[in-house]
């Protein structure tokens, strides 16, 4: 990992090759928006931060990201979110090439708890869902 970091949540568990149904995410990390510190930080977190379970899924592929793959990834992520009782979730998809149709679909994702970001490595173009989480997530994803 390179570059600056930005605090999103207290991620405390990470999986590699995390399999949900028939989709394998390269990385899945999950945590909580409430930090566990000592007295002051714990108290500040208690009064200032919501206690949301959150997760971040990373799907990377050297193939072209097309509609059928997206149609598997997004529902799988949502079902995993529900199973893990997560309120917010970031789904980052990295592919060599991404179909324009897929970019449109990603922008149209309206689920308030799911931020979808697709990174096309061939052109360096980043597409994000236009919901609040997606717009915020776009600020910290750099290529």
């Amino acid at each position: 990992m390179k570059g600056k970091a930005r605090w999103l949540a207290n991620f405390n568990e990470s999986f590699e090759n995390y399999r949900v149904n028939d989709v394998t995410f390269d990385i899945f990390i999950h945590g909580n928006t409430r930090v566990k510190g000592f007295l002051l930080s714990r108290f500040f977190s208690y009064i200032a931060n919501p206690a949301y379970e959150v997760g971040c899924y990373l799907y990377a592929s050297e193939r072209r990201l097309n509609r059928s793959i997206l149609r598997k990834i997004v529902p799988t992520t949502k079902s995993s979110m529900d199973a893990n009782e997560m309120k917010w979730c970031w789904l980052i998809m990295i592919a060599d090439q991404i179909d324009n149709e897929v970019k449109d679909l990603i922008e149209k994702i309206s689920d308030r708890g799911l931020a979808a970001i697709a990174v096309e490595t061939h052109t360096g173009m980043i597409t994000n869902s236009k919901n609040f989480l997606g717009r915020q997530a776009r600020k910290f994803v750099k290529v």
């Binding site: 405390n12 568990e13 990470s14 999986f15 590699e16 995390y18 399999r19 566990k36």
Partner: protein
């Protein structure tokens, strides 16, 4: 081939020594003050030696962690009082997690959602080095159980 990992936990050792040291310190409060003043260096030296020796024994009996594993199974022993043994085939996936105290553990999940932690930080192992090895052992055990 069986691998044995055991490292001295200085925090555990210090805790054990302190447990032995405290009652000795309390005893000196009940001793006559002239005696304590006259032999203060001897008392401190004896206290430290006894704390070190008995603390080590106490540490080995209750706190010392030993992680043993081979291709099929692993066990985690804490002191001489607690030993848990498992087969790699009992688990299907693993993660690296940070405990409430900020210590890294390798968390193994059973098929029914149960979990078990290997305290890699206490064993002074690098979780990111051990993860591929444990992944390999889980995959191997899973393939063997399918046959």
């Amino acid at each position: 081939m069986e691998q044995v990992v055991q490292r001295v936990s200085y925090t555990g050792l210090l805790k054990a020594c302190f447990i032995v040291f405290l009652p000795q310190l309390a005893l000196t409060f009940f001793a006559p003050s002239e005696f304590v003043i006259q032999y203060r260096f001897v008392i401190v030296a004896v206290n430290l030696i006894v704390s070190g020796a008995l603390g080590w024994k106490l540490y080995k009996h209750y706190y010392h962690l030993v992680f043993t594993y081979d291709e099929d199974k692993f066990s985690l022993r804490k002191g001489t009082v607690e030993e848990r043994s498992y087969s790699w085939a009992d688990f299907e996936k693993l993660s690296i997690a940070s405990s409430d105290y900020g210590e890294f553990v390798i968390r193994l999940y059973t098929r029914d959602g149960g979990k078990m932690d290997i305290p890699v930080e206490k064993l002074k192992l690098d979780p990111f080095t051990l993860r591929p090895e444990v992944n390999r052992l889980l995959a191997r055990a899973s393939q063997a159980s399918m046959r």
